[in-house]
C-alpha cells in the first residue's frame, strides 16, 4: 500500500457515501480494505456491516475483505492520554473536566483523534487500502494541520498566553499576586479556577513529548496520502473544495480528483421535448435542465481553474445502501483505478 486515501470536503455532500463506495469497490477487487468513518447514516452503516457502534475494525459478513470502523473521538482521547502521559497524570487527565472541554471544543480535536486512529491502523499493516472519511472540520485542511496545532497547544502555547512569557515552574504560576494580569483574571473568575486550570496544564504537558513524536509520524503518513475532495455543485461546498487545492500543497500532495456528487445529465440541457408531452412533464424537464446547465458551468469553471480530474456521480433520489449499488456508484468513473494503481 502506498498511503491512505483521504476523502475530504464540506459537510452534507456525500463524503461518507463516496468513502463507502470506494471501500466496496476496492474490497471487491480483492484488496483487504478498511473504511474509517465518523457518523454514517443508519442504512449506510448497516450496508457496511456496522450494525452496532464499533470503534474497532469489523469485517463485513457478505464481503469479508471489507472492514469498517466508526471513529469515536471521546474514546480515542482517553487512549491518547493513556499512551502519552505517565499513569497517574493520565488518570487525572481522563477524569478532568478541563481535558474533556479541550478534547471536545478545541477545533482540531476530532480531526486529531481521527488522524491518530488512521495512523494506528496503518502501523498495523493489516490492510492493503485504508480509506478515511475525514470528520467535519471547521474548514479547509484542518485534518492535516491538527497534529501540529495540538502539539503546540499542549507544548506550552496555553502557558505562554497565561503568563506572557516562558513556561513557568509550578510555584511561579500560582504566585498570582506577582502578575497583575493574572490577579485581574482571578478576580473575574473567582474561586480557584486559575489554580485548577494551572494544575491541569501541568498534567497535560506530560503528553507533549509523546504527542510530538506521534504527530511527526502522522504527518509522514499524510505526505504519502492521496486526497480526493467531494462536493456538490452548490456554491458553499465548491468554495470549500477550492480551499483544498490552494492549501493542501503546503502539507501533502494536491488532491488527486474532485468528485461532483448529485450531478444531473448534461443531455437534459438541450433535450427536445416531444409534441405529445404534457405540460407538467415539459415544465419539469425545463426546470431540471436549468439546474443541469448551472451545474455544468460550475464544473467547467472548476476544471479550468484547478486543472484537476473531475469525476461526476449522478443524482439519485435515495443514497445507495447496499454493497452492489454502492460499488455501481463509482464503477464507471474509473476513480478506484486512478487511486490504487
Amino acid at each position: 500500500m502506498t498511503g491512505p486515501i483521504l476523502v475530504t470536503g464540506a459537510g452534507g455532500v456525500g463524503k461518507t457515501t463516496v468513502s463507502a463506495a470506494l471501500g466496496v469497490a476496492a474490497a471487491q477487487a480483492g484488496y483487504q480494505t478498511l473504511v474509517l468513518t465518523v457518523d454514517p447514516a443508519k442504512r449506510l452503516a448497516t450496508a457496511l456491516g456496522l450494525d452496532e457502534l464499533h470503534n474497532t475494525p469489523t469485517a463485513n459478513k457478505t464481503l469479508p475483505t471489507l472492514w469498517a470502523a466508526m471513529l469515536d473521538s471521546e474514546a480515542s482521547w482517553d487512549q491518547i492520554a493513556r499512551s502519552h502521559a505517565p499513569p497517574d497524570a493520565a488518570d487525572r487527565l481522563v477524569n478532568s473536566e478541563f481535558f474533556h472541554a479541550i478534547t471536545r471544543h478545541f477545533p482540531a480535536s476530532q480531526s486529531y483523534a481521527a488522524a491518530e486512529a488512521m495512523a494506528q491502523y496503518l502501523d498495523e499493516r493489516r490492510w492493503d487500502v485504508i480509506i478515511v472519511d475525514t470528520p467535519p472540520a471547521s474548514g479547509g485542511i484542518e485534518f492535516f494541520t491538527a497534529p501540529t496545532e495540538l502539539t503546540n497547544l499542549v507544548g506550552g502555547r496555553l502557558f505562554r498566553w497565561l503568563t506572557g512569557g516562558a513556561i513557568p515552574g509550578r510555584r511561579e504560576l500560582f504566585n498570582v499576586a506577582a502578575r497583575p494580569a493574572l490577579r485581574i483574571v482571578d478576580i473575574a473568575l473567582g474561586s480557584d479556577l486559575l489554580e485548577r486550570v494551572g494544575a491541569f496544564l501541568f498534567d497535560l504537558r506530560t503528553t507533549y513529548d509523546g504527542l510530538r513524536t506521534r504527530s511527526q509520524e502522522i504527518e509522514k503518513y499524510f505526505r504519502k496520502s492521496t486526497t480526493i475532495v467531494v462536493t456538490t455543485s452548490d456554491p458553499a461546498p465548491v468554495t470549500e473544495a477550492a480551499r483544498f487545492f490552494k492549501e493542501l500543497p503546503q502539507v501533502a500532495r494536491p488532491p488527486a480528483a474532485v468528485v461532483f456528487n448529485r450531478t444531473l445529465p448534461t443531455a437534459w440541457e438541450k433535450a427536445e421535448i416531444p409534441a405529445n408531452t404534457t405540460r407538467p412533464l415539459a415544465r419539469n424537464l425545463a426546470l431540471w435542465a436549468r439546474e443541469a446547465r448551472r451545474q455544468e458551468t460550475v464544473r467547467d469553471e472548476f476544471a479550468a481553474r484547478y486543472r484537476t480530474k473531475i469525476v461526476s456521480i449522478g443524482w439519485q433520489p435515495t443514497a445507495p445502501t447496499d454493497l452492489e449499488s454502492l460499488a455501481a456508484l463509482i464503477d464507471e468513473t474509473g476513480l478506484l483505478t486512478d487511486l490504487i494503481d
Binding site: A10, G11, G12, V13, K42, F98, H100, A101, I102, R104, H105, F106, P136, S138, G139, L153, L158, F159, R160, W161, L162, T163, G164, R179, P180, A181, I184, V185, I187, A188, L189, G190, S191, L193, V197, P235, A236, P237, P265, A267, W268, A271, I273, P274, T277, T278, P280, L281, A282, N284, L285, L287, W288, E291, R293, R294, T297, Q316, P317, A319
Partner: protein, 282 residues
C-alpha cells in the same frame, strides 16, 4: 416570528447562512432595523449579504440590514471591559491573553464570550431584530449551555455575575427563539429531531420555527413508463426525490415553513433574496 433575537442553526450544508441572511432581508423589507451576526463561521453570511467580509463593528450592508462578524479577540476585549468595568482607553492586552488561555481549557467560557456579544447587542434595544447565524447544530449546545456551564464552573466572581441576565434573556420565549434549518433528508432530519429533543428537555431556549429548505413541489403528473428519455428520467428523479422528502418531512416532530428548491439560481445574494421572497409569502 415576533422574537427580537433569532439564533439560526442546523446541520452543516442545509443552508443556515442563506436563511439567516433571508430572515434579515425580509424583516428589513417590513421596515425593521435589523442586525445580522456571523457568530463563528462568517464567510457564508457575508456572501449571502453581498459583502466580502464582516467587520466587528456593525455596518449597513443593504438598506435596513446591518451586519457584523464576531472576532474572538475583539469580543473578548469588549466582554472583559463590560465584566471588569475597564474604560475603553486602558490597556487590557495581558489580561485578555491570560483570560483567553484559561478560556481554551475551561468549558463554556469561550462560548460565553461569543454568546455574550449577541446578547449584549440584543439588550441594547438598538435593533428591532437581531439574527445570529449561529454555529451548526452539532456545536450549538455548548453555546446555549455556556452561561449555565460557567455559573457551575466558577463559584463566584464577576464573570459569574454576568451569566444570570444572559440565561434570562436567552430563556425569555417572548424575546429569543431558535430557528432550526433542515433538509428533508435522513441525516439532517435525524440531527434536527435530536437537537429539538434536548432543546426541549433542557428548556434553556425556546424554538421559534423549524424551516425545511429545498423542498420540491409535487410533479403534478404520472411518471412516464419510458425512463430512457430526458422527460422520463427527469420526471423519475423529481418523483423519487419528492417521495423521499415527504418521508423525512413526516419524521420531523415540528414543522414550520417550507422553502422551495431554487432551480438554476447561481449567486448567493440571489439565493438569499429569493428565500426572503418565499418567507414573505408563507
Amino acid at each position: 416570528m415576533h422574537q427580537q433575537l433569532l439564533l439560526v442553526t442546523g446541520k452543516g450544508g442545509v443552508g443556515k447562512s442563506a436563511v439567516s441572511a433571508a430572515l434579515a432581508i425580509e424583516a428589513a423589507r417590513r421596515g425593521q432595523k435589523v442586525l445580522a451576526i456571523g457568530m463563528v463561521e462568517k464567510r457564508g453570511l457575508a456572501a449571502h449579504l453581498g459583502v466580502e467580509s464582516l467587520s466587528y463593528d456593525a455596518t449597513e450592508v443593504r438598506p435596513g440590514v446591518f451586519a457584523l462578524g464576531i472576532e474572538r479577540p475583539a469580543a473578548l476585549d469588549e466582554y472583559l471591559r463590560i465584566v471588569l468595568r475597564v474604560p475603553k482607553l486602558s490597556r487590557i492586552g495581558p489580561v485578555a491573553r491570560a483570560f483567553d488561555a484559561l478560556a481554551s481549557a475551561a468549558p463554556g467560557i469561550r462560548e460565553t464570550v461569543t454568546m455574550g456579544k449577541v446578547l449584549f447587542e440584543t439588550r441594547t434595544n438598538n435593533w428591532d431584530l437581531v439574527v445570529a447565524d449561529a454555529p451548526p447544530s452539532g456545536a450549538i449546545g455548548s453555546h446555549i449551555r455556556a452561561p449555565k456551564t460557567v455559573a457551575e464552573l466558577v463559584g463566584a466572581g464577576k464573570v459569574r455575575e454576568q451569566t444570570r441576565w444572559m440565561e434570562d434573556l436567552m430563556g425569555d420565549r417572548a424575546r429569543t427563539g431558535l430557528v432550526m434549518v433542515t433538509l428533508a433528508e435522513e441525516l439532517p432530519t435525524v440531527e434536527t429531531a435530536e437537537t429539538l429533543k434536548w432543546i426541549s428537555e433542557e428548556g434553556l431556549i425556546g424554538v421559534a420555527e423549524v424551516i425545511t429548505n429545498r423542498i420540491l413541489e409535487p410533479l403534478g403528473a404520472r411518471i412516464p413508463t419510458d425512463l430512457s428519455t430526458p422527460i422520463g428520467a427527469a420526471a423519475a428523479l423529481h418523483g423519487g426525490i419528492f417521495q423521499e422528502q415527504q418521508r423525512w418531512l413526516a419524521e420531523l416532530p415540528d414543522r414550520g415553513r417550507e422553502l422551495p428548491y431554487l432551480f438554476g439560481v447561481t449567486g448567493p445574494v440571489e439565493v438569499a433574496e429569493r428565500i426572503a421572497d418565499e418567507l414573505e409569502q408563507r
